[in-house]
Structures are given as structure tokens and as C-alpha cells.
């Protein structure tokens, strides 16, 4: 059921695989620093009392960038073989956005039925 069907790798192949992993690790550290940077900026903007109409869209936009980095780099969604993962998460996000829009509209924007 769960044996390794792996032919032994040549020294060259192993070195290549290792190098690829190190390269990926570098990308992940870059995306981590970006995430930390975005967090600092978001907290900084709110702490500096800039006008909310200006800050709210920026802060929400930065949250989405952070989440995309998290999904694509930390959770490896950029790699091959993640087509189903993308499909499922996109469907989830579609429902998520429609819930939020519906609730905000019903409660705060739309006229009472």
C-alpha cells in the first residue's frame, strides 16, 4: 500500500533536487519578509491615524496579498499538481466573498425589506 516505488537517484539527480529545494526555500524566505513588511505597514498606517477611507482598502488589499503569498509559496500552490487545490480554494473564496458581501449589504447598505 505505501511502499516507496523510487529507483535510487544518481548523485547528480540528488544534487539537482537539493539545489531546487534550496532555491524554493529562498523564495519562501523572501515571501516571509514581504509578509512581515506588509504587516508592519498595515499596523503602521492604522497607528498613524490616516483617514479611514484611505486606509481600509489598502489594509484589506495587503491582507489579500499576504494570503496569496501564504497559499502559493508556503502551501506550495505554485507547484505542479496543485490544480485541484486551486479549484477548491478558489471555490471556497468565491463563497467566502459572496457571504461577506451579502451580509454587509443586507445589514448596513440595503433598505429594509
Amino acid at each position: 500500500m505505501a511502499e516507496i516505488k523510487q529507483e535510487p537517484m544518481s548523485k547528480k539527480k540528488l544534487d539537482y533536487v537539493r539545489r531546487e529545494r534550496t532555491r524554493e526555500m529562498r523564495q519562501q524566505i523572501i515571501s516571509f519578509s514581504l509578509m512581515i513588511f506588509l504587516t508592519f505597514v498595515a499596523f503602521g498606517l492604522v497607528a498613524m491615524d490616516v483617514s479611514p477611507q484611505f486606509v481600509i482598502p489598502i489594509v484589506i488589499g495587503m491582507a489579500f496579498i499576504q494570503v496569496i503569498l501564504q497559499f502559493y509559496y508556503f502551501m506550495h500552490m505554485k507547484d505542479k499538481g496543485h490544480e485541484f487545490a486551486k479549484l477548491f480554494i478558489m471555490t471556497g473564496i468565491f463563497f467566502a466573498l459572496s457571504f461577506v458581501v451579502t451580509f454587509i449589504y443586507i445589514v448596513w447598505i440595503g433598505k429594509p425589506i
Binding site: M1, A2, E3, I4, K5, Q6, E7, P8, M9, S10, K11, L14, V17, R18, R21, E24, M25, Q28, I29, F32, M35, I36, T39, A42, F43, V46, A47, P52, V55, I56, V59, I60, M62, A63, Q66, V67, Q70, F71, F74, M75, G81, F84, A85, F88, I89, T91, G92, I93, F95, A96, L97, F99, V100, T102, F103, I104, I106, V107, W108
Partner: protein
């Protein structure tokens, strides 16, 4: 279960050990379906929170802007964000067939998660002292349900990773255990994804 080889030499360790077996592949697909379901679960909680934010019964009940403090939310964010990176390190060493380092980074992840959890408990106790409880207002119910569900996920994640560390401590790493560790790490990243929206929508937009 069929005979399982543990701690194989690196030449025979697959490039993607977590999906090297049929079982690993199934776990991987199944877990992403689960995460999509979790997304909609948290979305409904976020929508409820946004709809009921600051709906309080009287003048004397604290509002979001009176309660939330940015420094605490910032420290909690750093704890969880860093723990996400340490679990990335664990997966890196898992793929490189380095069992000891994988265990080490999983352990650091658990410690950072515990730090986050204790700050959250401290925060809740503080709010209850200010009269903001689960039953004091619609705002309170929505807030504690959203944050509580996330905190509950953190508890499950911590228990899950701790059990993996203990269970694998003596048997080491195989394509069977690699799939388990990978699934737990995906779960942990997802907890961080949800937290990104919590600190943005609840705390940053709350103090404005």
C-alpha cells in the same frame, strides 16, 4: 499496512515524499477539499462579525475601538506568522530526508503556537473584565465565536503536531509519516491565513 521502510538513504527518498504513495495523494486532495470547506466556515463567521460589529445593548457596553489594543494584536500576529515560517522549514527538512531537523522545527512551531494561544487567553480574560463577554451583546457573541473558532483550530493544530512529534520520535521518517507531517503543516498554514484576515478585519478596522 504493508511493510514500511523508515529512514531510507537519501538516494531512495522521493523528491516529493508526501505524495509518493496513493495514500499520500488521497490525503493531499482530501485535505484541500477540507480547507475549502473551512474557508466557507470562517467566511460565514466573518460575515456575521461584520454584520453585528458594535451592536451593543447600552451606552455603557464597550465597543471595538474601546477594547482592542494594536500592540497585543501585533505581537500575536508575529508569533503566528513566524510559526508559519518554521513549519515551512520543517517541510523543507522533511523533503531533504533530515528527520532530526524536521522534529526540531516542528517543536519550535508548537512553542510559537503556544505563545500565541496564551496571549489570546490573556486577551479574552482582559475583555471579560471590561464587561465584553459571549452573552453581553450581539457584538460579543460574534466576536468570541469568530476568534474562538480560530483559537480552537490553533488548539487542534498544536495537539496534532505534538502527537506527530511524539509518535514519530522513535520510528523516524517514511513516505507514510511524511504525508502526515505535510497535512498537519498545511493545516497550520491555513490557521495563519485565517489570522491574517482576523487581524485586518477585527483589529485594524476595529480600532479605527
Amino acid at each position: 499496512m504493508a511493510h514500511m521502510e523508515y529512514n531510507v538513504p537519501s538516494e531512495r527518498w522521493p523528491a516529493h515524499p508526501e505524495t509518493a504513495t496513493m495514500e499520500g495523494k488521497n490525503k493531499f486532495i482530501g485535505f484541500w477539499i477540507f480547507l475549502a470547506g473551512e474557508t466557507t466556515l470562517f467566511a460565514s463567521l466573518f460575515a456575521t462579525y461584520l454584520a453585528l460589529k458594535d451592536s451593543v445593548p447600552g451606552e455603557d457596553h464597550p465597543l471595538a475601538a474601546d477594547l482592542f489594543a494594536l500592540p497585543l494584536a501585533f505581537v500575536m500576529t508575529m508569533f503566528l506568522l513566524t510559526s508559519s515560517l518554521t513549519s515551512v522549514y520543517a517541510i523543507y527538512h522533511m523533503r531533504n530526508n533530515n528527520f532530526a531537523k524536521m522534529q526540531l522545527w516542528l517543536g519550535i512551531t508548537v512553542l510559537l503556537g503556544l505563545g500565541f494561544l496564551s496571549l489570546e487567553i490573556y486577551e479574552f480574560i482582559e475583555y471579560v473584565h471590561h464587561g465584553h463577554t459571549f452573552r453581553s451583546s450581539a457584538f460579543g457573541s460574534a466576536f468570541y465565536f469568530l476568534l474562538g473558532t480560530h483559537g480552537f483550530h490553533v488548539v487542534i493544530g498544536l495537539g496534532w503536531i505534538t502527537l506527530l512529534i511524539l509518535r514519530n520520535a522513535r520510528r523516524g521518517i517514511s513516505v507514510y509519516t511524511a504525508a502526515k507531517v505535510n497535512t498537519a503543516s498545511l493545516y497550520w498554514h491555513f490557521i495563519d491565513v485565517v489570522w491574517v484576515f482576523i487581524f485586518t478585519i477585527v483589529y485594524l478596522l476595529g480600532v479605527m
